[in-house]
């Protein structure tokens, strides 16, 4: 069982390269900035990376099966806003508020998935449309200004510590382990790879293509909602627009992690490295006197570069 995982990861050069890149980038940045490698800063980096990493988990599943989810920004934002509104600053309602918010995330994913696989709506249009609908809905619901603060238990989840390790990192590690198990050893995982490689062949092999597609979008809705919950805990409150950066960063993390944007290859362990790289990059920019404008340009270049590299060796036949 272990050898299967090792074989997949070791045979996937992009994943190894991504980790080497993350380490290299971290060491370089540490050389420029004295406090960067400190214990506190490493903890901070891990926590910041987890938000991208968790959104990219669902995004990775969707991309692996050959789709894309552009509705993550407002799914995340909606989860954050609704959780703070439901809980209204106290911990008691969390017992039902967290499951409810995650279920709503799943519902968004379900709508996306059904629209795409059953009604045949183009994934870009479906999810981009969903993003706009959610944004409008939340603006109507909150009247443009969400207020309540994040409950202390959610803050603990995002910023607390167990010994030297942030609680948040433990949560992320658990999710990564779960994703790894699903991708490597389950039937669903194999179906995902089959679906992303060739949809027609997968269909003829008896895979319930529609159902698998829907499930990937549901997973993506849940992880985006979960990242939203954690992010409100981190920032202490929910605000409009907090999800916007995750559109590019989640796709970029998946792309850097070695997943083909056409689906069919890649692994969540690579995406983790992608999230780490993007976070270290974001930390490197202020040191180089660059701002978030540069970060957006870098996101774009990174997506283009990695996708081009991944496509160059075995040029795809006419797939458009």
């Amino acid at each position: 069982m272990r050898s299967e995982l090792l074989r997949r990861v070791l045979s996937n050069r992009p994943i190894l390269l991504a980790y080497a890149g993350a380490l290299g980038l971290f060491l370089t940045t540490s050389a420029f900035s004295t406090g960067f490698a400190s214990e506190n800063n490493v903890r901070l980096l891990l926590v910041q990376a987890s938000f991208i990493g968790i959104v990219a988990l669902g995004q990775g599943f969707v991309i692996l099966a050959g789709g894309i989810d552009l509705s993550v920004p407002w799914t995340l934002n909606g989860a954050a806003i609704l959780l703070t509104l439901f809980a209204n600053g106290s911990n008691a309602p969390l017992a039902w508020a967290i499951p409810l918010v995650l279920a709503l995330g799943a519902l968004v994913g379900l709508a996306n998935g059904l629209g795409i696989s059953v009604l045949g709506v183009n994934p870009i249009v479906m999810t981009l449309g969903m993003n706009v609908i959610l944004a409008g809905g939340l603006l109507v619901y909150t009247n443009g200004s969400p207020t309540a603060a994040a409950p202390s238990h959610v803050e603990y989840l995002a910023t607390g510590r167990l010994g030297p390790v942030p609680v948040n990192t433990l949560v992320w590690a658990a999710l990564a382990a779960l994703a790894t198990i699903v991708l490597t050893w389950t039937i669903f995982g194999r179906q995902l790879y089959a679906l992303g490689t060739n949809r027609t062949v997968a269909l003829f092999s008896g895979i319930a293509v529609g159902r698998v597609t829907v499930i990937t979008y549901v997973i993506c809705g849940i992880t985006a909602a979960f990242a939203g919950i954690l992010l409100t805990g981190y920032t202490g409150q929910a605000y409009l627009g907090m999800g916007d950066p995750f559109l590019f960063s989640s796709v970029a993390a998946v792309a850097i992690g070695g997943a083909s944007i056409l689906g069919g290859s890649g692994h969540y362990l690579g995406t983790v490295a992608g999230a780490l790289i993007l976070t270290v990059l974001a930390g490197l920019l202020p040191i180089l006197n660059l701002n978030t404008a540069a970060l957006q340009i870098i996101y774009g270049l990174v997506i283009l570069g990695t996708v081009a590299l991944a496509t160059l060796p075995g040029r795809q036949a006419v797939t458009r």
Binding site: N122, V132, I133, G136, G300, L304, V307, T311
Partner: protein, 337 residues
């Protein structure tokens, strides 16, 4: 078959068979439905508001629509090709940012920058097309990446909303001729250009590539060059949209373009152009763009929160895509029967 041969088939040719009522309906529906919706919306708007059926109101609505229509014109070309262009948002934002910071007092500096903006739009689009045609990358991922890059560039030039667009430039659109404003005339010119363009070698080639890239290639259409040209035109139209938008806002914004990405796709798709490529045109897009503007106007007149506009737009878009998929499916079934 020559590339410029008129009437390159948009669907497999069915010879020696008279068109049944169903086939005629299939041809008319994509363009008829948006105009029907538009007429209904105008009627609703007209019953709610005084003086809707006047040249003044036409000028107001046209000015409110033209930015979207220009972006959507470029988007139409790319979608006809079977692609999609998400980078128009970034190019539009970047262009307004440059205009609001570089136009200065107007005069020759401004003239040079206007020319530069047009060239930047063309170039940015051509780069998209090059990456898609020659590296064989997916259109959405290329334009997603360049959307991010141009948005970043916009933030770099103009970190927050603001800047100044010279009065001489903003005032130029206030001219009118026979009661019709500059923006109304621009729409008429745009439609005229399309009537000419769709019959040109490039116009026909774009639809041919959109119908079937392989068939177009085998028929001698230079598919790579056509792809680059189509995306270059999309970039150009995004830049032109920015040049018009700044006459309305008199300032620049690093994020203003983002609103136009989904809306431009929506205008095209509601206008009956198929996302599978090859089918549709600017005629429908004009209706689509005006529908989106009128929805906002009707929501305003009903004094409902403007936050509802994106919900209605998004819902209408998904319905339109659905309707298109169904007509596409029916058309194919009929063609192969």
């Amino acid at each position: 078959m020559e590339a410029e041969a008129p009437g390159v088939p948009q669907q497999p040719v069915v010879l020696a068979r008279r068109r049944s009522a169903g086939e005629v309906a299939l041809r008319v529906a994509p363009i008829g439905i948006p105009y029907l919706i538009l007429i209904v919306l105008v009627a609703i708007y007209g019953s709610l508001q005084e003086g809707v059926f006047s040249r003044e109101e036409l000028n107001i609505q046209t000015a409110a629509t033209l930015t979207l229509l220009l972006v959507a014109a470029g988007q139409t070309i790319v979608i006809l090709l079977g692609g999609i262009d998400l980078s128009v948002g970034g190019i539009l934002s970047f262009s307004t940012a440059l205009a609001a910071t570089r136009f200065g007092e107007g005069g020759s500096t401004m003239a040079v920058w206007i020319a530069l903006l047009v060239l930047i739009g063309l170039g940015a689009g051509a780069v998209n097309g090059f990456l898609i045609a020659h590296l064989r990358l997916q259109p959405f991922i290329v334009t997603l990446a360049t959307w991010s890059i141009w948005s970043g560039a916009a933030f770099w030039v103009l970190p927050t909303e603001g800047g100044i667009v010279p009065e001489s430039y903003v005032g130029a659109v206030n001219n009118a001729w026979v009661g019709l404003s500059v923006s109304t005339w621009l729409v008429i010119v745009l439609i005229g250009l399309w009537v000419w363009f769709r019959r040109t070698r490039l116009g026909v080639s774009i639809r041919a590539v959109g119908s079937s890239e392989t068939a177009a290639y085998l028929s001698g259409v230079p598919t790579a060059r056509v792809t680059i040209a189509a995306y270059a035109l999309s970039g150009l139209f995004a830049a032109l949209a920015a040049l018009f938008l700044i006459t309305q806002t008199a300032s620049g914004s690093p994020t203003v373009g983002n609103d136009f990405i989904l809306n431009s796709v929506a205008a095209v798709v509601i206008g009956g152009t198929s996302l599978f490529g090859g089918r549709g045109g600017l005629g429908g897009t004009v209706a689509g763009a005006f529908i989106l503007t009128l929805i906002a106007s009707v929501i305003f007149v009903l004094s409902i929160s403007s936050f509802y506009a994106p919900i209605v737009t998004g819902g209408l878009l998904i319905l339109a895509v659905l309707a298109n998929s169904i007509t596409d499916l029916v058309a194919r079934r009929r063609a192969y029967r």
